[in-house]
């Protein structure tokens, strides 16, 4: 059984079935792609996996534990972390603070320690700051640590979202169109970065991406959905040659 098991998940919004009887299995360490035309339901799958929505039918399990009724924060603390297609950085916080916030789930200080600013709290804050800076270095953002996050260029904001997601110590990282708005060079760098991060942090990655070069370059296995339903599943080569996939993309274009 995989680390993440989605079985026959369906979610409806009024009359619209956004995700229909979707199954998905991610082995530990996988680099898994989820693609499909606009409106296919990819972001909705992320919202189901992270507890923003709960499926009308079906089940989602992380390492054998059901996520069905859990709140997003609980799921995040169980090791599922994500970025957002429409960037959601904390607007009043600096780059560094955005990453520090994501260490929230790992904190040991209680409200008394915070009230008193005692040794335990100060040591932990210093550690959080070091951890956050280390992550920023991986993403080449250490020089902008004290800038307000939303003042960064678009590509940097996307990288910051990944750094922030990693700060939660995830087991599974969900990336929702991380290359959107990036130039070709940035996208190429991102590809290498995703692979490096997977190896270094021992992660399982689920990638939603429109940039086919990135998807084909990064993913080992790809699932294609259209109108909320799986239409193909296989290696990048198999997907590229699949007539149904070509049809869905051309039909949707």
């Amino acid at each position: 059984m995989g680390l993440l098991e989605v079985r026959d998940c369906t979610i409806r919004f009024g009359g619209l079935t956004a995700v229909k009887s979707l199954s998905m299995s991610l082995e530990k360490g996988a680099l898994y792609g989820l693609i499909g035309p606009n409106g296919a339901g990819k972001t909705t799958v992320f919202n189901l996996l992270t507890g923003v929505y709960h499926p009308n039918e079906g089940s989602i399990e992380l390492d054998g534990k059901s996520l069905n009724k859990l709140k997003p924060s609980r799921i995040a603390r169980l090791g599922m972390s994500r970025t957002f297609q429409n960037i959601r950085l904390f607007q009043s916080m600096t780059v560094l603070e955005n990453v520090k916030l994501a260490r929230h789930g790992a904190r040991k200080q209680n409200v008394w320690d915070a009230t008193l600013h005692n040794r335990k709290q100060r040591d932990e804050e210093a550690q959080i700051e070091r951890d956050a800076m280390e992550l920023l270095e991986i993403f080449n953002l250490e020089g902008r640590a004290d800038e307000i996050a939303i003042n960064l260029p678009y590509g940097s904001q996307r990288r910051l979202e990944i750094a922030r997601a990693l700060a939660t110590d995830p087991r599974i990282l969900l990336l929702d169109e991380p290359a959107a708005g990036m130039n070709p060079q940035e996208s190429l760098d991102l590809m290498h970065l995703i692979r490096r991060v997977r190896d270094r942090f021992d992660l399982t990655v689920l990638l939603v991406e429109h940039n086919m070069r990135v998807v084909m370059g990064v993913c080992e296995r790809i699932q294609v959905i259209d109108y909320g339903e799986t239409i193909a599943l296989g290696s990048p080569r198999e997907i590229q040659d699949n007539p149904k996939v070509i049809e869905a993309y051309l039909g949707g274009a």
Binding site: R88, F90, M93, H104, R107, A114, I148, I150
Partner: protein, 325 residues
């Protein structure tokens, strides 16, 4: 160790001021100074939930009232027993113990009230907190009006005078230090993350409901302490002091100073309290003048007079826009 010494120094300075201030500035200015302190505690604490956590409470006076009446009642009905327990202390020590017992009770009962109001209303999205806190403030007032043992509509008189400049400003400092410490910790970051983006906060592992409630309870506890200090200073409480207008005044203070800034709340409370006194001649028009002031601030300086400028970091953060019903 050093912090301990610092606090000792602060206590000595406050005691020195307590001994000399009334003589220096006269009883009227002394009284206003003390009221400024009470309002600073109210504004700084309301700012935690409204400014830092981005929720909208409009019933702070309800918790203020709970604290005021709790402390006054405890001291009135339990005072002799408590004095008996600490009879070996000199009178000033007995007074201190009595006041601290009253304030502790005020904080605890106001905190429990905050929990009872916060849990159901903060679980839901949207401005339920505003509606529920508004209702709570009125319910508390009606309850007080109908409980005869705490004075009912006559008001609660004969409250022992235990609080003064020293105690009020001691608690002003405690409030500022505690809220500052919390804001500059993992907890504070969690509060601000909720204000900035609830969905992202949840995705990063912040249990937003729990932390909203926590912020609200801490805020309510300090409002309770402010109430206790107020009652033991004025020696008389009346439900009319705790109407919606009182809640609204605290909102004006933090909007004047800038939501999400501790220094702003201090400045806002001071400016507001002093101006309200100076404008007394205007009679009923002084409230109108504040409404006008508030509107002008929202138009020309939505970030407040200070915005989110903080002494401690010396830089500006993008401040949340002022929000009023």
């Amino acid at each position: 160790m050093k912090r301990w010494l610092l606090w000792l120094g602060v206590l000595l300075v406050l005691a020195g001021l307590e001994a000399s201030l009334r003589g220096l500035i006269g009883p009227y200015a002394y009284q206003i100074t003390v009221l400024v302190g009470v309002n600073i505690i109210l504004a700084v604490s309301l700012n935690l939930i409204n400014g830092f956590t981005g929720q909208f409470s409009i019933g702070h006076a309800g918790f203020y009232a709970v604290g005021a009446y709790t402390s006054a009642a405890l001291v009135k009905f339990g005072g002799p027993a408590i004095r008996g327990l600490v009879g070996f202390l000199p009178a000033i020590g007995q007074d201190a113990v009595l006041l601290l017992a009253g304030l502790a009770a005020a904080a605890i009962v106001a905190g429990i009230a905050g929990l009872a109001v916060g849990i159901p209303s903060l679980r839901l999205r949207g401005d339920y907190l505003a509606i529920v806190t508004l209702g709570f403030g009125e319910i508390i007032r009606v309850v007080i009006l109908n409980v005869d043992s705490i004075g009912g509509a006559r008001g609660f008189s004969g409250i022992e005078q235990l609080s003064n400049f020293f105690w009020v400003y001691f608690f002003v400092l405690v409030t500022i230090v505690v809220i500052h410490n919390i804001v500059h910790s993992s907890y504070g970051r969690a509060f601000v993350s909720i204000r900035d983006d609830e969905i992202a906060a949840e995705a990063m592992g912040v249990d937003t409901t729990r932390f909203k409630v926590l912020s609200f309870v801490i805020s309510s506890m300090f409002a309770g302490i402010a109430g206790g200090l107020f009652g033991h200073f004025t020696m008389y409480l009346h439900p009319n002091s705790f109407t919606f207008v009182a809640s609204f005044n605290v909102i004006i203070m933090i909007v004047i100073g800038g939501l999400g800034s501790i220094e702003g709340a201090v400045v806002g409370a001071t400016v507001f309290t002093v101006a309200l006194e100076l404008l007394r001649k205007l009679g009923p028009f002084r409230l109108v003048s504040f409404a006008v002031l508030l509107v002008l601030i929202m138009i020309y300086r939505p970030q407040g007079l200070l915005g989110s400028w903080t002494l401690f970091k010396g830089r500006r953060k993008a401040a949340p826009k002022a929000m009023v019903v």
